[in-house]
């Protein structure tokens, strides 16, 4: 039973039977030869959360002008509060009973997973998890704790080419392992974390599934969890205050240290409280427990906590001149550049570089600042780039050599990583994009940056109405998403979806593989943009 779903394909597809046959033949030839070579198996593209699709060969500055809606698919997932669909994952050449297929995995908050044919937009399979009430019963829900599946799954490669396993944490806290080809369970569900919590996008490194939780949903403490697939043992660690709600889940370094930002708690490391900074946690290879191995608290952490300026952003980790660096940020709208060898220096308060305020001049806790995750890529000249989305107006005192117009609702800001005479690295402002209505974390491929304004009403408090953080209010005030393609070196707008996307989204994101960019919206629609092959 697949449930209700309807696919709309781009109107330019030939309708003539002969043309259709020719096209199908051509497609079958293309499908037989894996000329594309790209997948997007985890939120943020890889375990270091770079959001950089290194294997893209179809979309480029030369072809992006031909980008269009290839298909959209209406799914039957029911939204919960403001959540609906999570970022799409993509695996190429999945071995199925019908032959190799490129499958897009879509996660719906109502404990749904969907396998979708990435070529056609047709629904292949649907799986809805059942809440095991023996583990506990869901509590009252509200905007921040909507209930349902909350973490984008992760896809692991199997033993044989074309075999992929989907790892998903269901609403009841169990880890499910599914065959991506058909959605069947390949192992019994196993307890991963307490039920009714709020985990974020899963990460998979060396047979260990990582995630973290926030908001105390379900009455649960906010914790980092690691599920060891070889031993089925779960390790956990908590910041003892605040939660971890980087949208794209944790980033894992080359040393297998999990990094993420924390928020909504005090920063008092002397007393073991890490509620508003960045923490590094590592699995003990023997006991499989998790241990804190490094941490960084901004020198104004007390101010950040007082004004609800959480460090709630997923970091991005990258190599730079023989070192491994990391960037992260928070609602205050400052970006921190750190060396993973010691992210805060000897005093845990000194990053390698700290930008000035990029936005959020008004110290708005809900509708401004940096939200979601960071992004990074390296161009063919060897220049390392760092990108961040911002919400709200650009700070009046922050400037870049290239600015693409007034920014009032949000934008993408790009930096080039450079080395000072002292040998330390810093973030040199490069460009600021056009205005985007609540710019979301970008993805990068082949010299292009894809970004979108999500169209969400992000207000949580208004002077004349006090707290308005109800889903009903904010859903009514939300508009629609707009997808943009930018030149990654200078931020020039090369293409946009205009008004074609008719809904908005909350807490979702972009994915890109093999000439297709995916975005999913609140109304349950998956939108696939790209170029005809």
């Amino acid at each position: 039973m697949l449930g209700r779903a309807s696919t709309n394909r781009a109107s330019s597809q030939p309708q003539h039977p002969t043309m259709t046959v020719i096209l199908l033949l051509a497609l079958s030839v293309l499908a037989a030869a894996p000329l594309d070579g790209a997948s997007w198996l985890t939120d943020g593209g890889d375990s270091r959360r770079t959001a950089w699709q290194r294997d893209e060969r179809l979309l480029s500055k030369e072809t992006v002008a031909d980008m269009k809606l290839l298909w959209n698919l209406q799914l039957d997932n029911q939204p919960r509060q403001m959540h609906s669909l999570f970022p799409v994952l993509v695996a190429e050449d999945v071995s199925t009973a019908e032959g190799p297929r490129e499958i897009a995995l879509v996660t719906g908050v109502s404990d749904n997973l969907y396998g979708v044919d990435a070529d056609t937009g047709d629904l292949i399979w649907k799986r809805q998890f059942e809440f095991d009430e023996a583990l506990g019963r869901p509590q009252q829900h509200y905007t921040l704790c909507p209930g349902g599946i909350m973490a984008t799954p992760v896809i692991g490669s199997g033993a044989a080419p074309g075999q992929y396993t989907v790892y998903a944490a269901s609403w009841d806290g169990r880890l499910h392992r599914l065959n991506l080809a058909d959605g069947s369970e390949v192992a019994p569900p196993a307890k991963f974390m307490p039920p009714d919590g709020k985990p974020y996008a899963l990460n998979l490194v060396d047979n260990v599934i990582y995630t973290h939780t926030a908001q105390g949903c379900g009455g649960n403490p906010n914790m980092v969890y690691a599920y060891d697939l070889e031993t089925d043992r779960v390790g956990s660690w908590g910041p003892a205050g605040g939660g971890m709600w980087g949208r794209t889940g944790p980033a894992i370094s080359s040393s297998k240290v999990l990094y993420t930002g924390t928020g909504d708690g005090p920063w008092d490391p002397e007393n073991g409280v890490f509620g508003n900074g960045i923490i590094g946690v590592q699995q003990d290879p023997e006991t499989k427990s998790l241990e804190l191995v490094d941490y960084y608290g901004p020198s104004n952490a007390e101010w950040l906590y007082k004004r609800d300026l959480d460090m709630q952003v997923t970091p991005a980790i990258f190599d730079y001149q023989g070192r491994e660096l990391m960037v992260d940020a928070g609602k205050e709208c400052v970006v921190y550049l750190m060396d993973t060898a010691s992210i805060g220096g000897d005093d845990h308060r000194t990053p390698e570089h700290r930008t000035p305020l990029l936005c959020n001049e008004e110290v708005n806790f809900a509708s401004a600042g940096i939200w979601g995750s960071m992004a990074t890529w390296e161009d063919s000249d060897g220049t390392r780039w760092v990108l961040t989305p911002i919400w709200g107006p650009k700070h009046s005192q922050f400037h870049a050599p290239i600015e693409r117009g007034e920014v009032t609702n949000g934008a993408i800001i790009a930096f080039a990583v450079e080395t000072k005479a002292s040998g330390s690295a810093w973030l040199k402002p490069a460009w600021i994009s056009r205005d985007m209505n609540r710019a979301e974390p970008p993805v990068i491929a082949n010299g292009l940056v894809f970004a979108y304004g999500n169209g969400e009403d992000t207000h949580q408090a208004m002077p004349d109405a006090a707290l308005t953080n109800t889903a009903e209010e904010r859903i009514a005030g939300s508009t629609h998403a707009v997808l943009y393609a930018l030149d990654a070196r200078n931020g020039q707008e090369l293409w946009s979806s205009g008004d074609e996307i008719t809904s908005w989204n909350h807490w979702s994101g972009l994915s890109i593989a093999n000439g297709r960019v995916y975005v999913a919206t609140f109304d349950g629609t998956v939108w696939c943009y790209g170029i005809e092959r």
Binding site: S299, N300, W303, V363, P463, D464, G477
Partner: protein
């Protein structure tokens, strides 16, 4: 929020109405500017954003360090800008915010004074109250806020210097016609009497900077704010007042 949206839709409808004159458009733009200014004021009426992050970055005072906060409005904030110097080498913090009235200062007194652990505070405020330009304010209302600030400071063992308002003259500032010399004089009298009654140090800038009831032209840039020469006159007076206040605090401890 819905009400705001309704207003926005109404404004959009007005703006898009055929035949709307450019005069109407200008008036609406001016109204929008005022609404935006009011919105910003409501969001941070006390001015807590201005120094909040900077305060959090401050380390605790070193042993023996006697930190001093200059807490006030325009004349305090401008001290140290352009060609003026703000006590180089001294552990003195400028926590002035131009345009603030005394109740706004009272709101941020804990964040910008108490929490940075000074040994002394120099309080100067009330000008914007008695002009009545931003808020209705009287000497009686200013005095309540000043007294509350003094109570808070003393409760935290912070020595207090109460500074006079500065003189004004019609020397360029568009504010000048609205600056009531008589009220300034009256508030300064009350500040001095109150300081004496509480055993506080009164810092009389006014006497050093005025000729009659006018700001001496050579000490002001516009009739409201001091110039470098004016601040150069004020600095030793402030230093002397601070040292006397700290000495008084030391005596109280013995």
């Amino acid at each position: 929020m819905l009400r705001n949206r309704a207003l926005a839709l109404l404004a959009a409808a007005l703006l898009s109405t055929p035949g709307t004159s450019s005069a109407d458009g200008g008036r609406i733009a001016e109204l929008e500017r005022k609404v935006e200014a009011q919105r910003k004021l409501i969001r941070d009426w006390g001015g807590l954003i201005r120094y909040g992050s900077l305060n959090a970055e401050l380390p605790d005072p070193e042993p023996g360090e006697r930190r001093v906060v200059f807490f006030g409005d325009d004349a305090t904030e401008a001290w140290g800008r352009a060609d003026t110097e703000f006590f180089p080498g001294r552990p003195y913090l400028n926590r002035g915010i131009a345009g603030q009235s005394s109740p706004q200062m009272l709101v941020r007194f804990r964040q910008d004074v108490i929490d940075v652990q000074p040994a002394a505070v120099v309080i100067q405020g009330g000008l914007h109250d008695i002009t009545g330009l931003r808020v209705p304010g009287t000497q009686g209302m200013v005095s309540e806020h000043i007294r509350s600030m003094v109570d808070l400071a003393e409760a935290h063992e912070i020595a207090v210097v109460l500074a006079s308002l500065l003189p004004v003259c019609e020397c360029g500032s568009p504010l000048a016609p609205f600056l009531p010399r008589g009220k300034i004089f009256g508030l300064n009298d009350w500040l001095e009497e109150y300081a004496v009654s509480r055993g506080l140090i009164f810092l009389n800038y006014y006497r050093a900077l005025a000729a009659g009831r006018d700001f001496r032209r050579e000490f002001t840039q516009d009739g409201v704010l001091p110039n470098a020469a004016g601040y150069a006159v004020m600095a030793p007076l402030a230093e002397d007042a601070i040292q006397r206040a700290l000495a008084g605090a030391d005596r109280d401890e013995q």
